[in-house]
């Protein structure tokens, strides 16, 4: 698909379209489609039009950048000053942050237009966008299926063109998997390449904000706008590199690894799609290599231990005292906190808080948490060694295409397992991109994943761009 951002940006710049007109158009699309898809949980039309008006002023003065005046959606766990940011949890109902996330500040200061909040799994804990307090989001390709998650609202909004692009967050695949399920592009940047300040934490050492877009070029443009060290986030890094200007589509002599561990237990249609993508790369001049990264199979259990441990601590602050929901029925402060948390959190969140509390408890800490940290080091090391052999890896994003609605709540363990193609990247802090590569027999989108070494966003985005261009020019892009 062509870059929506480039298209609108040039129309805006050439004064063939104003940001207010464009924003109204998108608000209309939301009004028409969101009832069916529940991709947005809140839309502030007045604010969006005000932002668009300000963007038009910037454009008139010849200021701004590619994102000026362009409407986007924001996952409900990214703080926007004065805008309800509830993580789709009852416990944060009514919470309006007193500050903007750094990524929001960057976008707003360049005149981008925030439309509203995208649906998600409660506190980003889930893979289907069904567990949030605003109900499930529906897959725009087929409403009987989920969007994937946890950034399912953003993926659905982009795939159905209710937003030009959306900001999601990826702790164990939450940008890449819904992108694959909905047929969008999802980039999970290197840990630290862009600021987490204002991203409401789930697993702090794994969380990363990433763009959901309709094209690789758009992913690169948004990534470039958001990346960079932030003095307010000590885990952010100055090592990230701009990607958009380096999109050439040239992948000659690129060494692409196919790690065999990623192809075990995968739906054959998906295996075929990835293999056919590999063949496309070969045609474009890249070389393929089958590789093996045995420690990857331990990444999944390590992920659930680390993510839940951090979550149990991160979510301790929701006590009903300062913001959000508070139970009305209590005699003292302890009872108030207990009742607030019991009623405020959903089932999956409680499950993960309990799991995390358990693995950090005296007597279990060494057996679980410490061991998980050692596995994490091993996985990171295994990736480092693999990237001595190859430039990037090509893998499936998920073992299946989108699940039917209500499937995950009855198949919890299987759903946890379905994250195993995406979590190793978070464990090792690497960048990865998910992009559409075909559809299954039901017509549901299939994605492929490209994984690179730390701060290799230009490389993986360019490889993704090459594939996307080849599909657009050739016959592979059946879903287009």
């Amino acid at each position: 698909m062509l870059s929506r951002i480039l298209k609108y940006s040039s129309l805006l710049r050439d004064k063939k379209l104003s940001s207010v007109e464009l924003t109204k158009e998108y608000l209309k699309k939301i009004a028409a489609k969101n009832g069916e898809l529940n991709a947005f949980v809140s839309v502030d039309e007045e604010r969006a039009l005000n932002l668009a008006g300000a963007a038009d002023k910037l454009l008139k003065e010849g200021k701004g950048n590619l994102l000026t005046g362009i409407p986007f959606g924001v996952k409900a766990n990214i703080a926007e000053k004065g805008v309800e940011t509830d993580c789709c949890s009852r416990i944060l109902k009514g919470y309006r942050p007193t500050y903007n996330a750094t990524v929001i500040e960057k976008l707003l200061s360049s005149g981008a237009v925030s439309l509203g909040k995208n649906n998600m799994d409660e506190f980003a804990m889930g893979s289907s966008t069904e567990t949030g307090s605003h109900g499930a989001a529906y897959n725009p390709v087929n409403r009987d299926y989920v969007t994937g998650g946890s950034s399912g609202g953003g993926a659905a909004a982009v795939a159905s063109d209710m937003a030009v692009y959306a900001l999601g967050s990826d702790t164990g695949g939450s940008v890449r998997q819904p992108a694959a399920f909905c047929g969008a592009v999802g980039l999970k940047p290197t840990y630290g390449s862009l600021s987490r300040y204002g991203l409401i934490a789930y697993g702090s050492s794994l969380d990363q904000i990433g763009p959901l877009t309709s094209s690789v070029a758009d992913a690169a443009i948004v990534y470039d706008a958001l990346r960079g060290v932030d003095p307010r986030d000590s885990t952010s890094s100055a090592l990230s590199v701009s990607a958009f200007e380096k999109l050439s589509g040239d992948v000659k002599n690129l060494k692409i690894g196919l790690p065999k561990e990623y192809f075990e237990g995968i739906n054959p249609e998906i295996v075929n799609t990835v293999k056919s993508a590999a063949a496309t790369y070969e045609k474009l001049g890249a070389t393929l290599k089958e590789i093996s990264v045995p420690s990857l199979k331990y990444a999944l259990p390590a992920y659930y231990i680390i993510a839940c441990a951090e979550a149990s601590s991160n979510l301790g602050r929701y006590d009903g005292i300062r913001y959000g929901y508070r139970s009305r029925d209590y005699d003292d402060v302890n009872e108030m906190i207990m009742k607030t948390r019991s009623a405020g959190f959903g089932k999956e969140v409680k499950r993960r808080i309990m799991l995390g509390t358990y693995v950090l408890s005296a007597g279990y800490f060494d057996a679980y948490y410490k061991k998980a940290l050692r596995v994490r080091e091993q996985v990171s090391e295994a990736f480092r060694m693999a990237f001595d052999e190859v430039d990037l890896m090509l893998t499936p994003v998920a073992p299946t295409t989108a699940f039917p609605l209500n499937y995950t709540s009855e198949n919890m363990i299987e759903t946890y397992m379905s994250d195993y193609c995406t979590v190793p990247v978070n464990i090792a802090g690497l960048p990865a991109i998910s992009l559409p590569a075909g559809t299954d027999e039901k017509g549901l989108p299939i994605g492929i994943q490209l994984i690179g070494a730390k701060f290799s966003e230009p490389l993986i985005l360019n490889a993704a761009y090459a594939f996307e261009s080849a599909c657009n020019g050739g016959k592979e892009a059946e879903n287009e």
């Binding site: 940011t85 500050y99 300040y197 885990t235 441990a309 149990s312 602050r317």
Partner: protein
């Protein structure tokens, strides 16, 4: 003498006097309107992130260096999880695995060293205010930087405990990291205490929390020591628990037992990467370390002061600095006497001595001391000039007349002494008859005649010489 040995170790919280908080840019100032020194980080707003204040790290390193600790090459923060309304994130960012300074000691005057286990950095919590049946939370104090100085159980008496705390206070004040005011909460102590018979292993310990004055600490420790001794004497056991000092009853009472002890579920703070402390950074701090109070005391004694005088001078950092820079005047004793005498008398409170704000500068003071040391003025003139300087500032020359400085030469002194002898027959007779006191009358005559300018020692000698004694 009791047959039970006293064993105590202290955990001392010291509030660092940095301008801004440990993890954000908010002010640390005490006493502001509630919740005015707050930001999303202090109130633990979802999505906010802590960023460590480098000055806090530098102050913690200062404290480590001043107590002979080993500064860690890698130091890291950990989360201590517990639920309390004054703790907005439900965890305190502290240090567990890799504290900033390890080991070290505080040396008591006896020469005994109280070993330190470590010093770590952490954030303070907010404050609960109970009013009219409601509880309010003030997060101004949330995120104020603290260091916790943890000693080994090397303290063997109430007196040693007091001396240890006083030494710590003094050191922290001298290195400029804290004012260590226990009443205002910028220093707080928790004490672990146990008793055992000589030759036997340590007994079961109890912890007494949050003692906010030295005298309470002494009373609490004395009480707890005898309580534990009595328990053992009567064949009972000491229960491991946390106790608090009840100021009214002057006793300690149980707060919670070991069974209720919290599991803090410490784990590495994922929002703050481990900090590498470079050799250069430590060196740059070492270069700015002042002479420490015990060393200052030694220097002062070497300059001729008594140990008591030296101790009193180092008690206040500014006083010690002032005195130290006045030593160039050449007479430490005169300078010390002026500071500990006239100047201290002009300062009513501890705070005034601590602040040691003078209307004149150290050069003026040094000049005054030198005038006296060189005998250019006498004690009376010096006192008068100092009073003038204390109330109006300036320098000695502003208040000295040519006459003051003229002095009295030897021949004049001799003449006056002869006059004195001639005019005071009775005193002369008494003196020669063995009444030493009588000489004072003659001395007084000469001093009066010179309006106090004569050197009284020289006059006395001359009188004795003339009287043939």
């Amino acid at each position: 003498m009791s047959k039970y040995l006293f064993v105590a170790g202290l955990e001392t919280h010291v509030e660092l006097q940095t301008e801004s908080k440990i993890f954000c840019g908010c002010s640390t100032r005490f006493g502001a309107e509630p919740n005015t020194h707050c930001c999303p980080v202090c109130t633990g707003e979802p999505g906010s992130l802590p960023v460590i204040n480098k000055k806090v790290l530098a102050y913690a390193i200062r404290a480590g260096l001043a107590t002979h600790g080993k500064i860690s090459e890698i130091t890291s923060m950990d989360r201590k999880n517990y639920v309390y309304p004054d703790l907005p994130k439900a965890y305190q960012i502290s240090q567990f695995e890799n504290p900033v300074s390890v080991g070290g000691y505080i040396e008591l005057d006896s020469g005994k060293r109280i070993r330190l286990n470590h010093i770590h950095m952490e954030e303070d919590a907010g404050k609960l205010v109970h009013e009219g049946g409601y509880t309010y939370i003030d997060y101004n104090r949330g995120g104020v930087p603290l260091i916790e100085i943890v000693s080994e159980p090397d303290i063997s008496s109430v007196e040693e405990a007091r001396e240890y705390v006083e030494k710590l206070q003094l050191i922290m004040r001298h290195i400029g990291v804290s004012d260590c005011k226990m009443q205002e909460g910028s220093m707080r102590c928790d004490v672990n205490i146990s008793v055992h018979r000589e030759g036997e292993p340590f007994g079961t310990r109890t912890e007494i929390k949050n003692m906010n004055s030295l005298s309470f600490m002494e009373k609490a420790l004395a009480y707890e020591y005898s309580r534990q001794c009595d328990l053992l004497e009567s064949g009972e056991k000491v229960v491991q628990e946390t106790r608090r000092y009840n100021e009214g009853a002057q006793t300690t009472e149980s707060m919670r037992s070991k069974e209720d002890a919290q599991d803090y579920r410490y784990f590495p703070e994922p929002d703050i990467p481990a900090i590498h402390i470079s050799e250069e950074f430590v060196d740059s701090i070492r270069k700015t370390m002042p002479v420490l109070p015990d060393e200052l005391r030694k220097i002062f004694v070497e300059k001729g002061l008594s140990d008591i005088e030296a101790k009193r001078l180092v008690e206040y950092k500014r006083v010690a600095d002032f005195f130290l820079s006045s030593l160039s005047a050449g007479d430490a004793k005169i300078a010390a006497n002026l500071i500990l005498g006239e100047i201290f008398r002009s300062m009513g409170t501890e705070e005034e001595k601590e602040a040691f704000e003078l209307k004149f500068d150290v050069e003026a003071f040094t000049e005054l001391v030198a005038l006296r040391a060189q005998n250019k003025i006498n004690a009376a003139i010096q006192k008068r000039v100092l009073q003038e300087m204390l109330s109006k500032g300036g320098k000695p020359s502003d208040y000295l007349t040519a006459d003051d400085l003229a002095g009295v030469d030897d021949s004049a002194v001799e003449g006056l002494c002869r006059d004195a002898i001639a005019a005071n027959e009775r005193a002369v007779r008494d003196y020669l008859g063995g009444k030493e006191q009588a000489l004072k009358a003659l001395l007084g005559f000469v001093m009066k005649a010179t309006r106090g300018k004569a050197n009284s020692g020289a006059v006395e000698l001359k009188l004795k010489e003339l009287l043939g004694k």
